[in-house]
Amino acid sequence: MSITVKYFASLREILGRSEDSLEIGDGNITVSEVWKQVAGKQKSLPDDVLTVINMEYVKPDAQVKDGDEVAFFPPVTGG
């Protein structure tokens, strides 16, 4: 399955890119497992990183489906 992964703000700077397109063979993958794929296998998801699927907040153990847009970002600071 193929998914898009987006990064914002400081996380985008740390990773050095704003987006990844991933092809994942295994159809069973959670958001936190996507994080390990993009951040390096040994890095687990930091507690303060917010996790989103298709523009809705989700828990890190939420399942990702084919075609989903996943996003990771730091605490929001708008307003």
């Binding site: 996003a71 929001v76 600071t77 708008g78 307003g79």
Partner: protein, 145 residues
């Protein structure tokens, strides 16, 4: 009814409210209007700030703000809501956010305006990067209101 808008250029909150209220054509129906305007300060965490960049997650921002306004409309008896938020390069004194709520009676307008602002500050996907003497820094966290 509601309108959500993300602006890339400076806006004047007062003329935005005025013209939005005019096109509503609800004069005589609303008895109350509560609004909040957040503007850029020249000081944050005891440091002089000279400039600010506001980043957002296009699409999710609008969707999230729409969801929260829909929730406010369910919780209170409202007539209309206007939410505007700047992104891009912000200068000192520039309005960043405007939340404006119209209702028949004042409690609903006050409560809903604050509810939307608190949600926006804690959940809407915007991020501020300030320029201070030592360079650029990301604002790490919003304080709770």
């Amino acid at each position: 009814m509601m309108k959500i808008e993300i602006r890339t250029e400076p806006f004047n909150p007062w003329s935005e409210i005025e013209s939005y209220q005019e096109q509503m054509q609800k004069d005589g129906q609303f008895g109350a209007m509560a609004s909040f305007v957040g503007s850029m300060r020249d000081l944050n965490e005891e440091e002089q700030v000279t400039e600010m960049q506001l980043e957002h997650y296009p699409g999710m921002t609008e969707k999230h703000l729409m969801d929260i306004c829909t929730e406010a409309n369910k919780k209170w008896d409202l007539i209309d809501i206007l939410v505007m938020h700047r992104v891009g390069e912000i200068r000192i004194g520039n309005p960043i956010v405007l939340v404006c709520v119209w209702s028949a009676h004042r409690a609903a307008a006050f409560d809903a305006c604050r509810f939307i602002m608190e949600d926006l500050k804690s959940k809407a996907p915007f991020w501020k990067q300030e320029t201070v003497a030592g360079g650029k820094r990301w604002v790490e966290k919003n304080t709770s209101g």
